[in-house]
């Protein structure tokens, strides 16, 4: 008796002691900090790189700047000296935050907005799912529902606008060659590293305004939030002593011109018809005619119409429709076939005995409701890699444009495949999930397709990290098996198809005049 009492006593006191030592009073959450750097290469020739929407940098105009010896410029310099002389703590924080990179931060902001809007609408009292209304974006349900296809598209347009705008900006920078304020007047106090890049028009203002134009169109309820970000970004360049007002004004003008041109494509890319539910009847008939008896059926209650059944018809970036048909994988194993039974048994075995490591992998890559989605996950991976490689703003934008257009191509291709085959989810055969079930057909896996495409592009941009990116894509793919919402065929075919899709973006990158 005595000894067991003693054991209990020791156990109890240890729990009390340990919990009080380990329960920290400090609840601050530490996030990885990204800081400013001098780019490894300013990419002085980038004004001639191939653009996506612009036919040439001269599609947009920038007025010639006042010379650095003009009275107007000297007045701007004086104003800059006043603004950058002493900063409040808040101003310092803004300088550090935006100093990490204009493209980097606006991509991060886009991911945050995607997460904020990534929740499926709730059903109403009639058992129907109201459709988000772009004209009333903050009503319930909020517009948009930033699901993976929507987010892939938003990020693609964002990165394309940033990239095209920066190519034009580089063109004009080297046409005008107006030096940075601190190189004109050494008494300007700068808070960030200054490179050899000409300052007019300001690349920060270009990126900020182009990004603002895209994001405000993609997330129309976020006007005030985006206004504040735009204003702070521009101000931070003055506080940091990096740009005079005319650098910023010219950049903003250029950025909004490019933003408008890019949005013109977005308005006619077929996205507005992507949720056309009338197309599904013919898709189901076609799938049945090919021998599929058990087609996909929504597992939600009440049954929810499938997510964007016509997204497969949205415009592509890096290849044409004929290529898309060729890229579509062959059919999945039919329910009842030996291969199907084997793949179902694999999921049933995981459901019975999911390991903690399988759960961890499924959770890490889940990127479900309330997250920035798989395209956001890969955009973050790409932006972090480019930041670690000390890419110039324009090379960062090029990387993200290559990755994001490949991601949207992957989304379009995968959605076309999903609704072409219309295959059932494992949940239609009694399997549960540890990550939540998306509401659209199973074959092929979106995660696998997105990941294959992104990893292929990243392996081209960062060849020394190929193994790492390919391993990540493989893990993202198999995570959907571990989460029990995809059959192995869904994942394996999706991953291969994704890599093939990525190859088209890589070809573009190799031929874009960057020599990279």
């Amino acid at each position: 008796m005595k000894s067991s009492t003693r054991i209990l006593l020791i156990a109890g006191l240890s729990v009390l002691g340990l919990s009080s030592v380990l329960t920290s009073c400090d609840k601050t959450i530490e996030e990885p900090q990204r800081v400013a750097y001098t780019p490894a290469d300013v990419d002085a020739k980038a004004g001639s790189w191939k653009t996506y929407i612009l036919t040439a940098p001269t599609d947009v105009t920038v007025a010639a700047p006042a010379s650095t010896s003009s009275a107007a410029y000297l007045a701007e310099l004086n104003d800059l000296k006043t603004k950058s002389a002493s900063l409040t703590r808040q101003q310092q924080e803004a300088v550090v935050y935006w100093g990490a990179g204009a493209v980097y931060r606006w991509n991060e902001i886009a991911r945050e907005l995607a997460a904020r809007y990534n929740v499926p609408p709730a059903s109403n009292a009639d058992g129907k799912y109201p459709i988000p209304d772009a004209a009333n974006p903050l009503a319930d349900p909020k517009f948009p529902f930033a699901n993976p296809p929507y987010t892939a598209r938003a990020l693609a347009y964002l990165s394309v606008a940033q990239y095209d705008a920066l190519v034009a900006a580089w063109h004009y920078k080297y046409a005008f060659k107006r030096t940075a304020p601190s190189k004109t007047d050494a008494s300007v106090r700068v808070a960030l590293p200054v490179s050899a890049l000409p300052a007019y028009p300001s690349e920060d203002a270009v990126v900020a305004t182009a990004s603002y134009t895209i994001l405000k169109a993609m997330f129309p309820g976020e006007g005030p939030f985006l206004d504040a970000k735009l204003a702070e970004h521009r101000e931070s360049r003055l506080w940091a002593g990096m740009n005079v007002q005319s650098d910023l004004a010219a950049g903003a003008d250029l950025g909004s011109q490019v933003g408008a041109k890019v949005m013109a494509r977005a308005r006619t890319d077929g996205m507005s018809a992507s949720n056309n539910q009338t197309v599904t009847a013919a898709m189901i008939e076609a799938a049945k005619a090919r021998g599929l008896a058990d087609v996909w059926v929504s597992q939600e209650s009440p049954a929810r119409p499938p997510m964007l059944p016509n997204y497969g018809a949205v415009s592509l970036w890096n290849f044409d429709r004929a290529t898309l048909v060729k890229l579509r994988p062959g059919p999945a194993p039919l329910p009842g076939s030996d291969q199907f039974k084997k793949e179902l048994a694999e999921l049933q075995a995981i459901q019975k005995n999911q390991t903690r490591e399988q759960a961890r992998i499924a959770n890490f890559w889940a990127d479900g409701a309330g997250s920035y989605t798989p395209p956001g996950h890969w955009a973050r991976t790409a932006a972090d890699a480019a930041h670690e490689a000390r890419f110039s703003e324009i090379r960062m934008a090029r990387t993200l444009a290559l990755v994001s257009t490949a991601l949207q191509d992957a989304g379009v291709c995968c959605w076309e495949t999903k609704f072409y085959y219309y295959t059932p989810r494992p949940q239609q055969f009694g399997v549960k999930t540890s990550v939540g079930l998306p509401n659209f057909p199973s074959y092929t896996s979106g995660h696998s397709t997105f990941s294959g495409a992104a990893a292929a592009v990243l392996s081209y941009v960062f060849p020394e990290r190929t193994n790492e990116f390919m391993a990540k894509a493989q893990e993202a793919s198999v995570s959907r098996i571990y989460g029990m919402i995809h059959f192995r065929s869904d994942c394996e075919s999706g991953l291969i198809c994704g890599k093939n899709i990525g190859a088209y973006a890589v070809s573009r990158g190799k031929a874009d005049g960057s020599g990279l």
Binding site: T5, V15, L16, K27, T28, S301
Partner: protein, 298 residues
């Protein structure tokens, strides 16, 4: 096995003597020095409606959500005025609809040190400190299926009791502050407070609880009604039609009944409770049944 047989034997033998004192971290009942009471408890808590922020709703893709708990809870009389209570629950979750996979496992081991600091004519003042540490590597953010939140916690509690010496009528009230640590999740980004955190570290809000209990305690039995309040001091709301998250500001008020019969060294206790009001929480109905074994160490 042998040890259990031995413990049961000791329990049965000691049936012949001694009064009983099965007790909890929220009462003013103390085990005498060198006695141990081991409670084995089973409980079930279910809800079909929950508060998504302030919006009360059902979820047809969950149906009825059930949490079952089996716990072992030894209480030790360190001295007549100092008791130590331990609790280790094993938890299962399930739903009646939808396809979310139930989770199960050992949750958090907690310990409570209860001290009768002042006693005067039936009135007592009892400071209590508690702590808990997760013992299972369960997933904390697959809510509402997760069995716990992986947060280490420390609780500071002050409990006041007045028991009428002749009738056993009593009133007990307590208030506590619960410090909860940060946790790590499997993902490296999540959304909370309307922003994205690019890390796997999550802050679980601190909380307070408070309760009032009215009852009668006699030598062999006890009965009481209670009202309890649990509330996170900060945190965010569940987003519209999204799943809960460990950062949520959970709050609830519940009322219930607790009773115990322990004529000798073996007894039973039972508890029923119903959540009347809440925020980011299920409107649960719960019951618990326990078997008590008292071991006298003299």
């Amino acid at each position: 096995m042998k040890r259990i047989t031995y413990l049961i034997l000791v329990a049965l033998l000691s049936l012949l003597s001694a009064p009983i004192w099965a007790q909890m971290p929220h009462d003013a009942i103390y085990m005498p020095r060198k006695t141990v009471c081991i409670a084995g408890m089973y409980g079930q808590s279910t809800w079909t409606e929950y508060w998504e922020g302030t919006l009360k709703r059902e979820n047809l893709n969950i149906g009825r959500h059930t949490t079952r708990t089996a716990a072992i809870m030894p209480a030790i009389g360190v001295s007549n005025r100092v008791n130590l209570i331990l609790n280790l629950p094993y938890i299962w979750t399930s739903t009646s609809a939808g396809n979310l996979m139930g989770q199960k496992g050992f949750q958090d081991l907690s310990a409570w040190l209860k001290i009768k600091a002042v006693e005067y004519k039936g009135l007592s003042v009892n400071p209590i400190i508690g702590g808990s540490i997760p013992v299972g590597n369960y997933v904390p953010d697959f809510l509402p299926m997760s069995i716990g939140m992986q947060a280490r916690s420390v609780t500071g509690r002050l409990l006041l009791n007045y028991t009428h010496p002749h009738t056993g009528l009593y009133v007990t009230t307590h208030g506590s502050y619960i410090w909860r640590g940060t946790i790590r999740i499997d993902r490296d980004a999540y959304q909370a407070d309307n922003r994205v955190y690019n890390t796997d570290e999550v802050s679980v809000p601190n909380a307070y609880d408070a309760a009032v209990r009215l009852g009668v305690v006699r030598r062999a039995w006890q009965t009481e009604v209670f009202a309890e309040r649990f509330a996170c001091v900060n945190g965010d709301n569940i987003r519209r039609n999204d799943m809960p998250f460990p950062t949520n500001k959970m709050q609830m008020t519940q009322v219930g009944w607790y009773g115990k019969i322990q004529p000798r060294n073996i007894g039973v206790n039972a508890r029923v409770a119903y959540v009347t009001d809440g925020l980011n929480a299920g409107q649960s109905t719960s019951y618990m049944l326990g078997l008590l074994f008292q071991l006298n160490g003299k």
